[in-house]
Symmetry: C2
Subunit: 205 residues, 2 copies
C-alpha cells in the first residue's frame, strides 16, 4: 500500500482526535507504520480542529500531512479551512447537516449523513466521530474491518464499546455504499468516454 | 517562553497518549502553540510506547521532538530506548518502581514514585498517567496549574474527573518537591564552587 494521508477536521468536542487515534491504532493492528498528530496554533483557537493520520508500509520520515488523500469535515468552518484547495484526487467527505455550503467539485465529494446517523441511532451526536471513522476507514481500503473494530474496542471510553462498534458498523457501511455509487458512476463514465466496453477489458481474449 | 519538547514513554496501556493530549490542551489553554504526536513503527510494536508534545510561543514548523527537554519513562524498556543518549540538560523523570536499573547521571535525573502513588491512593495504577502529567507539567514551569487542571477535567473519561484531578495534584506536588530539592542542591554547589555567597548576589548593594 502506498502512503495514505488523512485529515479529520471539525470543531473541538466532536471527538476527532480520538477518532484519529483509533484510525492510527487500527493501522498498527494491520501491521502498518503510522504517524498521528495534532497541531494547535493561534489559528486553531478559532474553533476549527484538525487531527492527522499517515499510514504506510514504509518508514514515515515527515510526520505531517502534506497532500491529504482523505479529508473529513464535520463543520462548515472546518470545510472553509481545510476542504478547499485540495487536489482533484483527494477524497473529500463532508457531513451533510453540518456542512451545507459546498463548492461543487467534479469528483470525489461525498456529502454523508454522519452526525444525523449518530443522532438517529443513539439519540445524540456523541458517536458521530466513530461513524466518521467507519466511513473513512472503509473508503481507504487499507485496513481490514477486524483491525478497526479492535482499535475502537480498545479506545472507546469505558461502557461505550458496544455503542461505538455499532457506530463503526454504520459508518463502514455508509463508506462502502458511497464508494459503490462512485464505482458505478466511474464505470459509466469510462464506458461513455471510451465509446465502448472493449477498453475496460471486459471482452478481451 | 522558549520552545519546550516533551517525550512521554512507557508501555501501551499506561495512558501516555491521553496524558500527552492533556498536556497539549493545557498548553492551548495557556495560550501557547502546541504540536502533539505519536509515531508508531515496527520498533513501536516491541512494547515501548512514545508520545510527544512541543509547546512554544512561536509557530512550530517541525512538529517532531528532536532534542527533548523533558523525558518521562514509566517502564524499563522505554528507559532503555529513550532514556539514554540524552543531553545533560534534559530532565529525565523515571518511575522508581518500574525503572529500577538506571545509568548514573550527574544531574537532572529524578526517580519518583509515580505508579506507586497511584496504586496507594486509588488502589490501581490507572491514574499513574495523570500523576506523571502533574510531575512533568509542574517541572516544566510553563503552564499555570489552572490550565492543566482544566485540560484534565475536559479529557478525563466520564466519571473519573475527580480522581484524576486528585492524581494531578499529587503529581504536581511531587514535581515541585523534586525541583525544590534540586534547587537546594544547586545552590549548595554554587556556594561551594564560588567559595562564598557574594557571587549569588545575596549580599550585594
Amino acid at each position: 500500500m502506498a502512503k495514505q494521508e488523512f485529515l479529520l477536521t471539525g470543531t473541538g468536542g466532536q471527538g476527532l482526535i480520538l477518532a484519529a487515534i483509533m484510525l492510527a491504532e487500527a493501522g498498527i493492528n494491520a501491521g502498518q507504520n503510522v504517524a498521528q498528530s495534532q497541531s494547535y496554533g493561534p489559528e486553531a483557537r478559532g474553533g476549527a480542529s484538525r487531527a492527522e493520520v499517515i499510514l504506510g508500509n514504509e518508514a514515515i520520515y515527515y510526520p505531517k500531512v502534506e497532500k491529504p488523500d482523505f479529508v473529513l469535515t464535520l463543520s462548515q468552518e472546518a470545510y472553509k479551512k481545510y476542504g478547499l484547495h485540495l487536489t482533484e484526487e483527494a477524497i473529500l467527505i463532508v457531513d451533510n447537516s453540518q456542512v451545507t455550503e459546498v463548492k461543487p467539485r467534479s469528483k470525489n465529494l461525498y456529502s454523508l449523513p454522519i452526525t444525523k446517523t449518530a443522532r438517529t441511532q443513539f439519540g445524540s451526536e456523541q458517536s458521530a466521530n466513530v461513524v466518521a471513522l467507519g466511513v473513512v476507514a472503509s473508503m481507504s481500503r487499507s485496513i481490514p474491518w477486524e483491525n478497526v473494530m479492535l482499535a475502537v474496542q480498545q479506545r472507546a471510553p469505558r461502557g461505550t464499546a458496544e455503542r461505538n462498534i455499532k457506530a463503526l458498523e454504520l459508518g463502514w457501511q455508509m463508506g462502502r455504499d458511497a464508494e459503490a455509487k462512485l464505482e458505478t458512476r466511474r464505470c459509466q463514465n469510462e464506458v461513455m468516454s471510451s465509446g465502448g466496453i472493449n477498453e475496460l477489458g471486459l471482452e478481451q481474449e
